[in-house]
Symmetry: C2
Subunit: 429 residues, 2 copies
């Protein structure tokens, strides 16, 4: 606990350069909160010649990041390369095997390999990953420590700023998905290959991590039901508005009698709910616990600054010697609670169909729903135009996912139904 | 770190009984997160015969709480008596002097005697007080640890559920202050002597604590400018609504070139801001930091459950051996930054006058404002009724508090002004 905490950073992209900058700019505050200076002594990235907008003077450059894992001059390895395998994983495994603490922002790695990594930790601080979920929002600390006395009923939220930005733009500007995506890519808010974001995988990584901590069990990324936002169209957003809802890409983890339900999908949330009001690139988390009730935390979920804030918070904890097991409890205290399959979900649904405007279509659709025991709450059809394709929106009462899925197959096969139906779940979030 | 953490609790009222219940009901979860069982071994209150709705079986009853401070069977003293002096303070001082860690929910004590108590801590865990601010919201942990890498620009929020409930009711039901107060007292939301809540003192206690942690300096309760909500009337709320604002009792701590400004007063916040949407007994905190940006945390700020959640979180940290200095940094790292007096504040104001509806009144009022260099943004006068007393509302552009205060004295003295003017500051919160 004496002297400085020496940090080796692998990866000097958005986050890595942000961490170097933050440790320089707020050095005095960080040293005061950490009880000692926190200093970058070595860095590694692919291209040594690249200008990273931060001074690397006096910092050792390492060609092979793996060297950091066993370098006696490095107290902590900060992994900011990214990816669930390859250089990032090799480095983290080597560091943990060498008994060196690791700090990472790598949600893919923790979600997909968290269990294996946990097995490498032999006491000590192990691996910390506050930045992996919701950027600057200290939600992992809140769940593991600040709300540690609570029995968690659910954790849900908006964990992907790219998707939230796109859905916000679609609503504000009445734009179509493809146009907003192109715009977001041009602005750098979405990657050239946007699939990890818009197909919900990134949200699922974060949700799997939060669920493990909230419910005290191993990370189970494979159990997460994942749907993205590609199918959402401007007409869905307009209908949702009319019905008093906003459409958000949510991650939801909920405990029930049957086990833990984890799912990522677009959802309609009431316009006056906490999550409905979270716009643009912001993230938000709602934690429901007994006895604390609902805690809502909102903030920026990505970007150099907020993510670096979380990485350095982990470094401060290490500098102070504050230890918490990876998932908030010792491995042998983790429960082996079942994951509930999506087919067992119950909820209300919004179904949007593109149908030929001709007599009998609605009767055919509602007959299918009736046959599956699904009762309707609202049916909306706007802009009659006989012979053309028009949207029809149906809101159901609470029903079984399995029944809904079966009904959907039959509805999609009706001759008058012209496109695959869009299904959006309704959440009271 | 082996064996159980033995807890002695002094005070078995709302919070004390809540802590006993929580440690029983969530014993397994708490033990898993704490790494060992956390068990109440001794309790103390005034009336041994009183039914507290929890089982005290197997727990030793202590007549004099002071005994807990030196009891070798007690690892931690939990002070839940309340009050800045008397039994609560005696107990905390004795425990710290004996080197025993203390957990408390007592904001009055920390705000008014925090500096003295800090002086009694000789290394070790010292005193913890997550429950003292914003009940179940883990805001102290967020500021000291989760956002520890940030230079904090401001911390503000709604820290008193009683006032927020009353202001919400006044708006929803168009009720007057006195009637809402009577109702809140009947429902148990306000105390028989409500002054600590409605005069802003409770909010000021909490703000003083947050400001100390946010800006890394000693607690300076005396520097907080404090105004309560007694002067707010239904007409103010109606005008605010019309202008697109909500009225909230805010605590605001902000860093400026001149030092730290800390103030508690009713404020008009834009209806689409985060704090405007916090209704009823909820609390919310907005933390602005560099580089994290704005973090908003919302939740229940009082009551047995949320407060116990925070007390037990502190116990879990103690059980795990996680230590943090009282104000997030060692005493010698604290800065001695100046507190900025309220007279140096700059902001926009809403001034509500009750004036005789007669020619020339507005001209007189605006002349006074002009003479003090205060420029008007909006002037509203509703329901003309010559010869009667009518409300007039004036919104100013940003101006000096000192100028405003001087103008107010002159305006109050105008013959046509029939009541002391009500002044509500405008915040962009
Ligand atoms: N960006 C965000 O807002 C954000 C938010 C939360 C979490 N994260 C996570 O943070 C991590 C980093 O993200 P990022 O956005 O900073 O990524 P990035 O900008 O793509 O940076 C990646 C860095 O890793 C380096 N790198 C790649 N392969 C390497 C190798 N084999 N050896 C050494 N260095 C290698 C690259 O070097 P060169 O620069 O030389 O090519 C680059 O500096 C990811 O896990 C991501 O999921 C990011
Ligand atoms: N209530 C909340 O929602 C809340 C929220 C946040 C923080 N807090 C803080 O938590 C603390 C406790 O609040 P509370 O609402 O629980 O108060 P409370 O209901 O009035 O309980 C006070 C307890 O202290 C006991 N007590 C009083 N004087 C004592 C003495 N000399 N020796 C031993 N015990 C004594 C009382 O004993 P008897 O029961 O025998 O009279 C009672 O059990 C206060 O500092 C308060 O500010 C409360």
């Amino acid at each position: 606990m004496n002297g400085e905490l020496s940090v080796g950073i692998a990866g000097l992209g958005t986050v890595g350069a942000g961490v170097v900058r933050l440790l320089q700019e707020n050095a005095a505050i960080i040293a005061a909160r950490a009880g000692r200076p926190v200093r970058v002594v070595a860095v590694s990235a692919r291209d040594r010649t690249r200008d990273r907008g931060v001074s690397l003077e006096g910092i050792r450059w390492v060609e092979d990041p793996l060297v950091l894992a066993t370098d006696p001059a490095v107290d902590v390895v900060v992994e900011l390369i990214g990816g669930a395998s390859g250089a990032a994983r090799d480095l983290v495994e080597a560091a943990l095997a060498a008994g060196k603490p690791v700090v990472t922002a790598n949600k893919a790695l923790i979600a997909q390999a968290g269990g294996d990594l946990a097995g490498l930790i032999r006491g000590g601080p192990g691996i910390r990953f506050e930045a992996a979920v919701a950027g600057g929002i200290p939600v992992i600390k809140a769940l593991r420590e600040g709300l540690g006395a609570n029995r968690i009923a659910s954790v849900s939220g908006i964990f992907n700023g790219t998707c939230n930005y796109m859905l916000t733009r679609m609503r504000d500007e009445k734009m179509e998905f493809a146009d907003v995506l192109a715009e977001a890519q041009a602005l750098g808010y979405a990657e050239a290959d946007p699939s990890a974001d818009i197909d919900g995988v990134d949200t699922a990584h974060k949700l799997a991590i939060l669920a493990a901590i909230a419910f005290g069990r191993q990370v189970d990324f494979g159990a997460v039901h994942v749907e993205g936002i590609r199918r959402i169209s401007a007409v869905d957003i307009a209908f949702a508005d009319e019905l008093g809802y906003r459409i958000k890409l949510l991650g939801i983890a909920r405990a029930s009698e049957a086990g833990i339900e984890t799912r990522v999908h677009p959802a309609m949330v009431p316009e006056n709910s906490a999550l409905a009001k979270v716009d643009g690139v912001n993230n938000a988390v709602v934690i429901s616990g007994e006895p604390v009730g609902d805690i809502v935390i909102q903030g920026r979920g990505a970007g150099a600054g907020p993510t670096a804030s979380a990485v350095v918070a982990d470094l401060i904890d290490l500098a102070r010697g504050r230890q918490t097991p990876m998932l908030g409890m010792a491995p042998d205290a983790l429960r082996s609670e079942a994951s509930v399959p999506m087919a067992a979900h119950r909820g209300a649904y919004c179904l949007r169909l593109m149908v030929l405007d001709q007599p009998g279509v609605i009767a055919d659709v509602t007959a299918v729903l009736r046959d599956h025991g699904i009762s309707l709450e609202t049916m909306l059809q706007r802009g009659r135009s006989p012979g053309d394709v028009v949207p029809v929106v149906i809101i159901t009462h609470e029903t079984d996912e399995a029944a809904m899925a079966a009904a959907l197959v039959q509805i999609a096969a009706l001759p008058a139904v012209q496109e695959p139906p869009a299904l959006i779940r309704i959440e009271q979030a």
